[in-house]
């Protein structure tokens, strides 16, 4: 059957850079370990399985440079290996503990399989999960794009030099990691403002994504609403997120992930099990913490955590099938409605945080696989496309002037600028302004190796201070002290290094420690922050 419309599935994979080599069990590093086991490994497995069966997944994945750096960090890879090993050891004990309880045994076995799969995939790729993603892209199965160097909300960076540095470092990082130029750019938090058009084009990007109301704000310029790509006056391709398909997946209240059969995120065995029994698997402080083993299902709306029932993988999979069918039925109705009204074939762009699939919504990877398989096996009149494929095959997109927007709460910048987190901006700007001034001062000077290293590390610290994650964590009140500490540290590190260079008093030992800890962007050149840069 010929296609009546196209589906573009974009998964944005991002974690803030968290690397604490001096600590064997740092709490926030478990964000990375859990995301690897629950999201990245299952997604890679789904993509490889489909590809091996001749079903081209055709999804787009944005991998943030900070996540890419963590996936390639050998110290984190070693810790990840130990984490998986330790969970498998615990799960062996759990299989024994659950042997007389069939309901519990079923879910413990599921987790054992999940961690065993992670161990196998990590072993297969020697711990480096970029390798299979690169291979999938090389084989034309998926398209990988990038985002800002440290996921800064770009409209909140007033200095053009800072925006250009975020983009240029991202472009270079992608080239180094994937051995090709990045065509697409995911705007962190989908945060757009008009001055970004020229910076994105100058950095070599062909297209980006924006929130639906960015396109709707363009009014009559955008007659097809979110169902068509557009371009800016300087030729940057634009894709708009479809709110309806997002809502079905995102919304905890109305969306699929809230189904009673699905796994409950917030009840974790780390808080349930016997403390002495669990102690070897907790942190060095011995305090309870999430272990990533969640044995219960949502059970029902408003059900108390203590009243949750055991998760039944078979029951959940049946719901996955039903939800995949429902999702596709709705997309077909969308395409039919559009076709009836306008006589054209719409493009539906569905964008999600990758970590929703698996980590938050445990059944997400299975849902994605079911959706892709169903389109193929049932010969549905929909096709998965990647942005580059679509732009290469569609007519010249219409020019629009999109509106300022984000995909954050209320659609603008409220989550990153409010009374819980606005105190961070003076520190971010202090580091940024001094970095720019110092880059301007030294950009044409012959510097010794130590000063160059210090300036390059100051550039890394400045970029890390600009990450959107610190403001967001402060806003939601989760790991707020950690976020505040990280922001404070990066800003102070940058200012100290820059002062040391100016005063010719670089502390080599302290610099080396920072280079080991915050070892992102190995090829960074501090001059990227200069007002007139090589860029």
């Amino acid at each position: 059957m010929s296609s009546r419309g196209s589906l573009m599935f974009l998964l944005h994979a991002h974690l803030p850079y968290v690397n604490h080599p001096q600590d064997s069990a740092f709490l926030e590093e478990s964000w990375f370990f859990e995301a690897v086991v629950e999201t990245y490994v299952p997604l890679i497995s789904v993509l490889e399985r489909l590809s091996a069966e001749g079903i081209r997944p055709g999804v787009t994945i944005s991998i943030s440079p900070t996540l890419g750096a963590m996936l390639e960090n050998e110290a984190l890879e070693r810790k990840l290996g130990l984490y998986v090993e330790s969970r498998l050891e615990l799960l062996e004990k759990e299989l024994e503990r659950a042997k007389d309880d069939p309901a519990l045994l079923k879910v413990v076995q599921l987790y054992h399989d999940l961690y065993a799969e992670a161990a196998e995939l990590l072993h297969k790729y020697s711990g480096d999960l970029i390798t299979p993603l690169k291979a999938l892209q090389h084989a034309g199965q998926i398209e990988i794009i990038t985002t800002a160097a440290t996921h800064a909300v770009l409209p909140l960076l007033a200095r053009p030099e800072a925006v250009r540095a975020q983009l240029a470092v991202a472009a270079e990082d992608y080239q180094d990691r994937f051995n090709r130029k990045a065509a697409g750019f995911w705007l962190p938090e989908c945060a757009y403002e008009p001055r970004l058009n020229s910076y994105l084009k100058l950095s070599g990007f062909d297209y980006t994504f924006m929130e639906s109301h960015a396109v709707e704000a363009a009014g009559e310029q955008a007659p097809n609403g979110v169902y068509s790509p557009y371009r800016t006056s300087n030729g940057l391709g634009l894709f708009a997120r479809d709110a309806a398909s997002s809502r079905e997946v995102w919304s905890a209240k109305f969306g699929y992930p809230g189904d009673p059969a699905y796994r409950e995120f917030y009840r974790d065995y780390g808080y349930d099990g016997d403390l002495e029994y669990l102690r070897p698997y907790l942190g060095n402080d011995g305090a309870r913490r999430p272990l990533g083993l969640k044995y219960h299902r949502i059970t029902g709306p408003g059900a108390d955590l203590s009243a949750k029932q055991y998760y039944d993988p078979d029951e959940a999979l049946a719901r996955v099938d039903a939800h995949a069918s429902d999702f596709l039925d709705r997309r077909q109705r969308q395409t039919d409605d559009f076709y009836s009204a306008r006589g054209g074939r719409p493009l539906i762009v569905s964008c999600y945080d990758a970590e929703l699939f698996g980590h938050w919504w445990f059944e997400g990877p299975a849902f994605l696989e079911a959706v892709i398989r169903r389109i193929r096996t049932e010969r549905l009149p929909l096709q998965f496309v990647t942005p580059t494929e679509y732009l290469n095959s569609c007519q010249e997109p219409q020019e629009i002037s999109p509106g300022i927007s984000s995909w954050g709460e209320n659609g603008y910048f409220d989550p990153w600028v409010n009374e819980t987190n606005d105190f961070i901006y003076p520190a971010v700007y202090a580091a940024t302004d001094k970095m720019i001034e110092t880059a301007n001062r030294y950009r044409n000077q012959d510097l010794n190796s130590l000063s160059t290293r210090a300036l390059n590390q100051a550039a890394r610290e400045t970029l890390l201070s600009q990450s959107s994650d610190w403001a967001f964590l402060l806003y939601i009140g989760s790991h707020a002290d950690y976020a505040k500490g990280r922001l404070e540290d990066h800003s102070a590190n940058a200012l100290r290094l820059l002062s040391e260079v100016i005063e010719k008093k670089v502390d080599e030992q302290a610099l080396a420690a920072l280079e080991r800890k915050n070892c992102v962007f190995p090829r960074i050149d501090f001059r990227i922050f200069a007002s007139v840069s090589k860029f």
């Binding site: 809502r247 995102w250 109305f254 917030y266 509106g403 209320n410 409010n418 003076p426």
Partner: protein
């Protein structure tokens, strides 16, 4: 409200950032010398922030604050591109000390209230 430990900057700074269609966020920092001028009453203790539209330089609004407050939220008026300026009172006359970057207030898009945005809904679910 939490604060970060920060040394005064070498130069004064006034930064204007967009928040939403109705509001800008503005923050300012004074160098040690300028802060001393406020402390020694060379300037009055209250500063005035004036927001103006970039297209015609007309005024969008004013806001007064203590010089040490360091930040404020300003109504965005009719929106669009704006610039803020910080004034201080010396010898009975307002003196312009700083001008901010240009920032753009978003146009209200009339979004449906039930739209889901990003992972917020998950992250906001109550934790044990």
């Amino acid at each position: 409200m939490p604060e970060l430990s920060a040394q005064p900057p070498a130069e004064d700074r006034l930064v204007l950032l967009p928040k939403n269609p109705g509001t800008f966020f503005v923050f300012w920092q004074f160098s040690a010398g300028r802060a001393d001028a406020f402390r020694s009453s060379s300037f009055a203790s209250e500063i005035e922030l004036r927001l103006s539209y970039s297209d015609d330089n007309s005024q969008a609004g004013t806001h007064r604050a203590a010089w040490q407050a360091g930040r404020a939220y300003l109504p965005a008026g009719r929106g669009g591109a704006c610039v803020a300026a910080l004034y201080a009172l010396r010898n009975g006359a307002w003196e312009k000390l700083l001008e901010s970057n240009q920032a753009f207030a978003p146009a209200p898009a009339g979004m449906a209230a039930d739209r889901a945005y990003a992972s917020m809904e998950f992250l906001k679910r109550s934790q044990p």
